[in-house]
């Protein structure tokens, strides 16, 4: 059975590859994003050497790396699930001897792998040439970073599964999905590192899963987290990955009873 799930990763990867033309525009847009934030942060720092625990060099690296990581963990599983529920093709998924959510997850992973290999890694090289980044020299930081963005993918996908399944209850969950998208980008630390938020907000955000998606891996990579802090950050990510399994299972069980199939 495991081989079937792996097959879904492979097929999604190949499907993405077959339609790769559009991903060039993605490179441009990501570079623009990184560029804009790069100059924005430079302006904000001005002569200051350190803000929110980040030095000017660290923050630009943080921005670049976070955006590149986002290209890996980002996926549209919520939209895919919502669409399949809305057009009724979820029925086909239910007559197959596999777990629907796990298959979706694997497809998301195939997509993530595609972006990692075809976009993130080459993109990182391009970004390094364009902007003076302060990349870590210790190999373990690189290793930890890749482990941590794996967790980022896991948590982000779990949140997407939950958001997508809302379509079982709402006829149209577009609004919820857009809201989630903004929420994740804003509160995960891609746009603004968590340490820049005011104290009360930081306390709240530290108790939410979003910071585990972008802020923690970015911080570990740029060196604002060290030693045991990194271990703790990985622990937080692992805890969230486990904690989110329960609501997903409960929601799926409820959805099975609620399920109705649109269009016969």
């Amino acid at each position: 059975m495991a081989s079937a799930y792996l097959e879904f990763i492979r097929i999604r990867f190949l499907t993405m590859l077959a339609y790769r033309v559009n991903y060039y525009s993605g490179i441009v847009i990501y570079s623009l994003n990184i560029g804009v934030y790069y100059f924005l942060w430079k302006a904000i720092y001005g002569d200051a050497s350190q803000l929110g625990g980040f030095s000017a060099a660290q923050i630009t690296t943080y921005v670049a790396v976070s955006w590149m990581a986002r290209s890996f963990y980002f996926n549209n599983l919520d939209r895919e699930i919502a669409n399949e529920i809305r057009d009724g093709s979820v029925a086909i998924q239910m007559v197959r001897p596999y777990s629907y959510l796990l298959v979706k997850f694997m497809q998301g992973f195939g997509e993530g792998l595609f972006r990692l290999v075809m976009f993130m890694l080459p993109g990182l090289v391009v970004v390094m040439l364009l902007f003076p980044l302060d990349l870590p020299e210790e190999p373990w930081r690189w290793a930890v970073f890749f482990l941590m963005i794996l967790f980022s993918f896991l948590i982000n996908s779990q949140i997407n599964l939950l958001t997508g399944m809302i379509a079982f209850w709402l006829e149209n969950n577009q609004g919820v999905m857009s809201f989630k998208r903004v929420l994740v980008d804003l509160l995960s630390g891609v746009v603004l590192p968590i340490s820049f938020f005011p104290g009360w907000a930081r306390t709240v955000l530290e108790w939410l899963p979003f910071q585990a998606i972008a802020y923690l891996p970015g911080s570990a990579f740029t060196g604002t987290l060290n030693g045991s802090e990194v271990a703790y950050a990985i622990g937080v990510q692992a805890a969230w990955s486990l904690a989110l399994i329960l609501p997903i299972m409960l929601m799926w069980r409820a959805a099975r009873r609620r399920m109705f199939v649109q269009g016969g």
Partner: protein
């Protein structure tokens, strides 16, 4: 052992009720009103192994909902359902290995990849061994003539070609029970015949139990030893097609052509005293309706010799007409106006008073086909604008689909 056993099975859906006007829409925002729709009302039936059973009824009668409960897709509201010894919704992942399902209006193949790739993926999903897969595929390729289709992407197949591939896809794991939801919808007569022949062969050689819903009664005539007829979520007939025809066709029609003009009033005089009815088309032809309880010989005895009969033909009431009449009356019990002694039909459950119409639930689907799997992953316009790497391609794929 029965392949399918259903007892007092019921499914209700709760659907939001939309109020009219802007004010109503605003009220909907805050206070949703729901109404309960009973799609399937406490139905019971048993289908033994190896039977081909037709499941018919108008749109919205609850056919698809029943099939979806039998296939483990929907969880019943109440009642008992057992298929191949499993409770479908509870043991879904193990149970679905035993069944094959084809939805005429949905594709189960992956839109973007070749047919053979879809089959290989299904082989892994169903854990079919390579040798079994090869043997099965060869057999299906031959009987369904898939040969040159296998290497084409699904989106480039015609509906008839796709349907044959869908059937093959549903049978790769050699299921003992096959559910078909309108398998011949939209197909031309050649493909329809081909598919019917294939299903007959499948049933004969592998003993596969088949339950199919259809609107094409020729499917039923060609395939089914048994018919279950559904109306507004209730079974109104369960028995053989022969019996249905026999009980319901209240008579036959004899068509005459005359060699010289005949006065219509003269015709009625000839059959005076018999409960028959003449319809004169013109002076040189006429139709005579003879109820079942009258022997044709008695009628003809009076006519032959008295009329200049050039030609004569008999017409039995067709299944189409019978079924249309039953749909219209909403009950398969023979109406009181019918011939005496035919008042009850075995296996008919009293339909009683007409319940609230349950239209517009799970049925009445547009004839559009959506591919399962990867093609369904579409990126909204919002996405396209934001340019996630490699996303827009799927919008394009959908447009083409």
């Amino acid at each position: 052992m029965a392949a399918i056993e259903v007892e007092r099975l019921r499914k209700t859906f709760r659907v939001p009720e939309h109020r009219e006007s802007l004010r109503g829409a605003l009220m909907d925002l805050f206070l949703r009103r729901y109404k309960e729709i009973v799609a399937v009302r406490d139905i019971s039936f048993r289908i033994p192994e190896g039977e081909i059973c037709g499941y018919i009824g108008e749109n919205g009668a609850g056919k698809s909902t029943t099939i979806k409960m039998l296939a483990g897709i929907l969880v019943p509201t109440s009642g008992r359902v057992e298929v191949a010894g499993y409770v479908p919704w509870r043991d879904r992942e193990t149970f679905v290995r035993r069944i094959g399902v084809v939805f005429g209006q949905r594709s189960q193949l992956w839109w973007d990849i070749g047919v053979i790739e879809s089959f290989r993926l299904l082989r892994k999903v169903y854990r079919v061994s390579e040798t079994d897969f090869r043997r099965r595929l060869d057999e299906l390729t031959e009987t369904l003539q898939l040969g040159d289709l296998l290497h084409r992407p699904v989106r480039k197949l015609s509906l008839g070609q796709r349907m044959r591939c869908e059937l093959a896809a549903a049978l790769l794991h050699n299921p003992s029970i096959l559910f078909l939801d309108e398998p011949t919808i939209g197909l031309d007569i050649v493909v329809k015949t081909q598919i019917r022949e294939f299903l007959k062969k499948l049933n004969r050689e592998h003993g596969t139990t088949i339950l199919l819903t259809t609107h094409d009664l020729q499917d039923i005539e060609a395939l089914c030893s048994r018919v279950i007829m559904l109306d507004e979520g209730m079974i109104i007939y369960d028995g053989s097609l022969e019996e249905l025809k026999e009980r319901w066709s209240r008579g036959r029609e004899i068509r005459f052509r005359f060699s010289e003009p005949v006065e219509p009033s003269g015709l009625a005089a000839l059959t005076d005293g018999l409960p028959v009815r003449w319809t004169a088309a013109d002076e040189e032809s006429a139709r005579l309706w003879v109820p079942r309880e009258i022997q044709v010989a008695d009628v003809l005895a009076r006519l032959v010799g008295a009329l200049p009969i050039l030609d004569m033909s008999f017409k039995e009431t067709g299944t189409d007409e019978i079924v249309r009449a039953i749909y219209q009356s909403g009950s398969a019990s023979v109406p009181a106006a019918g011939p005496a002694g035919n008042a009850s039909v075995p296996g008919v459950e009293a339909a009683g008073g007409k319940p609230v119409p349950a239209a517009g639930t799970a049925e009445a689907a547009p004839v559009s086909v959506k591919a399962a799997g990867d093609a369904a992953a579409s990126a909204g316009p919002e996405e396209a604008a934001e340019g996630e790497p490699g996303e827009e391609k799927r919008t394009e794929a959908q447009v083409r689909g």
